[in-house]
């Protein structure tokens, strides 16, 4: 039949360009290192050096490069297919809710939570059920609007990129919605956590179209990271590394 003869098979060297793994700068980057090592990914030595001007790093695997970007940008790079794989916190996924991102693996690192915090002296004195609206300082405007919206409260969001903890004390907002790891920054600024919106861990994320068009390559990386996760408990899980 003519169709069969006119449709070429995929060439074996399908993707000549290396896959890109996007890693988040900062807090999680350090926690990624042991996981990357167990998955057999060895990026160029300066990748973990925040002083390095380089943004893209080759790895020991010629089919994989690493880029280092801001945590929120990991999701954007992966959503638009600029990076095929990434590691980012579930907080970023909750905030952007990119439909082009799949999150097939919970890496169990970067443990923290997205929470509402208020000044310690006023916390618990008002009944939030009586609020029509609340002014919230946050870097997560969508999470904040969704959380309060679900309780019948309009969130008037003051979008900040950092130092949210200052906002209530300086009259910028009544409450904040922020990532909380130990709570020490909140305490140091006279705030208390009143509601946990969601517990957060880091996820391995992949681009939806990349998974559809390169299922073997992307699937192999997911399997490799899964094996790396299971390694402490499962001595046979090294097959990803043997590839």
């Amino acid at each position: 039949m003519t169709v069969a003869s006119r449709i070429a098979a995929f060439a074996p060297q399908e993707s000549v360009a290396p896959l890109i793994l996007a890693l988040p700068k900062g807090r999680i980057l350090g926690e990624c290192a042991p996981l990357l090592a167990r998955a057999g990914v060895v990026p160029a030595a300066d990748y973990a050096d925040e002083e390095s001007r380089r943004l893209r790093f080759p790895t020991n695997d010629p089919t994989l490069d690493v880029v280092r970007v801001r945590p929120f940008d990991v999701a954007t790079f992966v959503a638009f297919g600029a990076a095929q794989i990434g590691i980012c916190g579930a907080d970023v996924l909750l905030e952007f809710d990119y439909s082009e991102i799949y999150a097939p693996l919970d890496l169990g690192i970067g443990l923290c939570r997205v929470a509402v915090a208020e000044p310690a002296e006023t916390a618990g004195q008002q009944d939030p059920a009586r609020w029509s609206r609340v002014r919230v300082a946050t870097k997560y405007p969508n999470i904040a609007r969704r959380h309060f919206g679900a309780r019948g409260i309009q969130a008037e969001v003051v979008h900040l990129n950092g130092a949210m903890e200052l906002a209530p004390g300086l009259g910028l907002a009544q409450v904040i919605v922020d990532l909380v790891q130990t709570g020490s920054t909140l305490r140091a600024n006279g705030l208390v956590e009143t509601t946990v919106i969601a517990p957060i861990t880091s996820r391995l994320i992949v681009n939806r179209t990349a998974l559809k068009t390169q299922p073997e390559a992307i699937g192999a990386w997911i399997a490799r990271f899964r094996a790396a996760l299971g390694q402490e408990t499962d001595a046979t899980a090294g097959e990803g590394r043997a590839r």
């Binding site: 006119r6 449709i7 098979a9 959503a79 999150a103 179209t209």
Partner: protein, 383 residues
């Protein structure tokens, strides 16, 4: 008084654009090549209008696209009109009304523009071209396979031979959830988790289904592996019969096009809202967008049907650009018969409207690689 500048005349509303030379011609030529392949397989062309009454356009299968549709009021009838955001519901309407008595299976094709109220996260485009086929009044693996094979041949005709088809079963997950009696509130969180392939959230919301769903979620990939995972999964009867349909469709496609790349994603259902069986999405390696999509649905209330729509805008971004039509400058006094022969040969002739001092310089200025003068055709050398 404000200092606002008047809007720039070139500024268009978000998501709309002008197609210029040579893209506009390339697009039109590509659409005609797709339509020629469709026609060669017996798909006859229909041309529904851009606007229809809202209540008929958005009834039945059209209901699923209601939120994407622009509306306006008809000053004539004072009824609400909707602009099509998808052509399939219109073709289904034609099949169940004007062509109700046409013999089945009915093979129809169409090409035209659609408008959506907003673009996607990836692409701002709000005007999207469609060229597609509908096979109405037939069901079974051979019908589903025919759509994939005809689409693959049409794509090959415009130079896209290395495509892959992602086959999905949108009714599978609802069948699993219904059989397990998952309540509505748990369902929406679970469906969102499945849509994002968020394994952690699937485990959290999946309850008794968590294990099966996680296995299916991880099964997405090349057809043989995914089919094996589906065969091994613990499925209730309705879901099992959907899985059997998919396996039969894959076998029917592979029998006729063994080299065609097929992937399967058993739990994918995104964007397939009026679909009732095997669905497909077309991808090209290295491209971050869908080249086409389609699947099985019900035409009217009950007639089995399936269709596949290709997106010419995305196809042109993925395909190699064809060589432009060579241009010949016709100097004053050039032989009209020779010029006509050049046009038949595929060249474009650019006629001089008035004598110029330097014909060669004029030919160069107008982008012509050749010049036809009274003494014949010759090449225009680069400056």
């Amino acid at each position: 008084m404000t200092d606002d500048l008047p809007p720039h005349p070139a500024l268009l509303p978000a998501g709309l654009r002008d197609l210029l030379p040579p893209e506009a011609e390339i697009e039109a030529a590509a659409v005609e090549r797709l339509m020629a392949v469709f026609a060669s397989h017996g798909y006859e062309r229909v041309k529904p209008p851009l606007l229809e009454f809202e209540d008929t356009l958005l009834a039945g299968a059209g209901g699923a696209v209601a939120e994407h549709s622009f509306r306006l009021m008809d000053p004539d009838s004072h009824r609400m009109l909707a602009l099509r955001s998808d052509t399939t519901p219109q073709v289904a309407r034609i099949a169940t009304t004007r062509l109700a008595r046409a013999p089945r299976p009915l093979r129809l094709s169409y090409a035209g523009q659609c408008l959506c109220v907003r673009g996607s996260q990836l692409l701002a485009d709000r005007q999207v071209a469609q060229a597609g086929i509908e096979l109405i009044g037939a069901e079974g693996p051979m019908a589903d396979a025919e759509l994939v094979l005809v689409a693959a041949e049409a794509l090959a005709a415009i130079g896209l031979a290395r495509v892959s088809f992602d086959l999905t079963l949108p009714p599978l997950v609802p069948a699993l959830l219904a059989a397990a009696g998952v309540c509505a509130t748990a369902q929406s969180a679970l469906l969102h988790a499945l849509d994002r392939k968020d394994a952690a959230a699937v485990r959290q919301h999946g309850g008794a289904l968590a294990e099966t769903l996680t296995a299916l979620l991880l099964a997405a990939g090349a057809a043989p592996g995914a089919l094996a995972a589906l065969a091994a999964a613990d499925l209730p009867p309705e879901a099992r019969s959907h899985a059997a349909c998919l396996a039969a469709t894959v076998a029917a496609i592979h029998e006729r096009a063994p080299a065609l790349k097929l992937t399967i994603d058993p739990i994918e259902f995104r964007g397939f809202r009026y679909h009732t069986g095997v669905c497909m999405t077309v991808y090209a390696p290295g491209r971050h967008e869908e080249l086409g999509r389609g699947g099985r649905y019900l035409s009217g209330e009950s007639e089995p049907a399936a269709g596949l729509t290709l997106f010419p805008d995305a196809l042109l971004r993925a395909a190699a650009r064809p060589a432009p039509r060579p241009r010949v400058y016709l100097a004053p006094g050039a032989d009209p018969a020779v010029a006509a022969a050049l046009r038949r040969d595929g060249r474009a002739t650019i006629a001089a409207l008035a004598p110029v001092a330097d014909s060669v310089a004029e030919a160069r200025r107008l982008g012509c690689a050749e010049i036809l003068e009274t003494d014949g055709l010759r090449a225009v050398t680069a400056e």
